[in-house]
Amino acid sequence: MSSKVSALDMPDVPMGQLPEHLHLQRTRVVCKADAPVHTEGIQYSGAYASIGVDNSVGVDSFCKSFKVKVVRLTKEEIEFDMIGIDASLANAFRRILIAEVPTMAIEKVLMVNNTSVVADEVLAHRLGLIPLNADPRLFEYLSENDAPNERNTIVYKLDVSCKKGSPRVTVKSDQLKWLPHGSELQMDSHDISSKAKSYTSFSCIQDSLPEFSKKPLGVKFDDIIIAKLGPGQAIELEAHAVKGIGKMHAKWSPVATAWYRMLPEIALLKEVTGADAEKLVKKCPVNVFDIEDIGNAGGKKAVVANPRTCTLCRECIRGVNEELVELRRVKDHFIFTIESTGALSPEELFIEAVKILEDKCDRVISELS
């Protein structure tokens, strides 16, 4: 690639196929020492029309070539490869995972008493961030005109105190107690004759519903520190959790993070042998390269053994006058990682995210027709 060749001297390219350098530009990002090049995705179907190459990927050919391979799957985390998809779609899934897949989170905190050093609003914010063990698909959104009921609200109670003269108390998330009956607090009413109303209007007890009787709606992790109480301090409050999305507030984001990277591809432009090979292997901090013996004469040659682990630190191309290595990324191969905060398993989260994109399409289609 480094030496310039006249176009007239280039070999003929068969019809309907891209010449090698254009193919490289289309499918790979090349990471140079100062900046990456060819980062854009070439989406337009007629991009290569002038040389008789069709750049469109029809839905059928997409379906044929698209592949998913799961690399790692635990309760909290999934890593998988998505092959043969455009960055716009991969990014849409990532954005939806972070901002649009709903979860339940504490939204309203009714403070009865708080004499701890943690200010009310700070405490409320801390409570909001605690992941709840509730499947958001079983709940409805609480809109402005709705009364909080068993289908859109979960009520928790926190009542802790530290006696005078006793050592300090650490309040952890397991002390948040689920109230399946709804709020226990009475609304202030100016009308003395009317019956006192509570802050929620549950029509039945939440744990009598079949979906919640087996799986109590507790917190996901019971060792999250909420506050520390000194002698004589107390917190009494009620927390109401509702359904929401990460766009509104990050506490509703179902993922700790969701991210992807393109598959690294490392090309050795020349054969690297002997001492140079040793040097190259030593340079890489994550052991992308390896030494291979050539022949019986004890000759050594560098090979690319683990391109996937490359972190793009660019150490191997730093300060060399002669280009030996080219760092590339495959544009349509994504290594996708999702870390769930616990409400849903990571694989369910991805499926939910794709469904949300489908729903968006569906909505627009019905508007358009």
């Binding site: 998913v68 799961v70 849409a92 954005r95 309203k108 409320a124 507030h249």
Partner: protein, 126 residues
Amino acid sequence: MVSFCLQISVPSEHREKEFAMEHGSATDSSSSTFSLMDEDHTLANSVRYTLNQDPRVIFCGYSIPHPSENKVNIRVQTTGDPAKDVLKDGFQNLMVMCQHVRSTFGKAVDDFRANESPERMKIDTP
């Protein structure tokens, strides 16, 4: 009895129904701009991709006129077919692709579970 009531996030604006509005010329239906409310890069960039893959599309792009407005404009110019129909097909294709991604992903997870060694399963299950 309750001394303090805190709402942590901003009150939720109720989600307005999304609508597509057309700005185009009255005589030429082959080029139009569509406004989608309550949408952003997530949908617009994906549909730009599927539209660009459609050979009937000469030009397609999107813009978000102002960052504090939840609105995106999608411009479609076609070789002759009504832009509205082409846009609809773009969304249709995107939906089919999503369905395929979902089923492929589901299969891949099942395969992974099936191939997992029994010991690993024991660690993973509570």
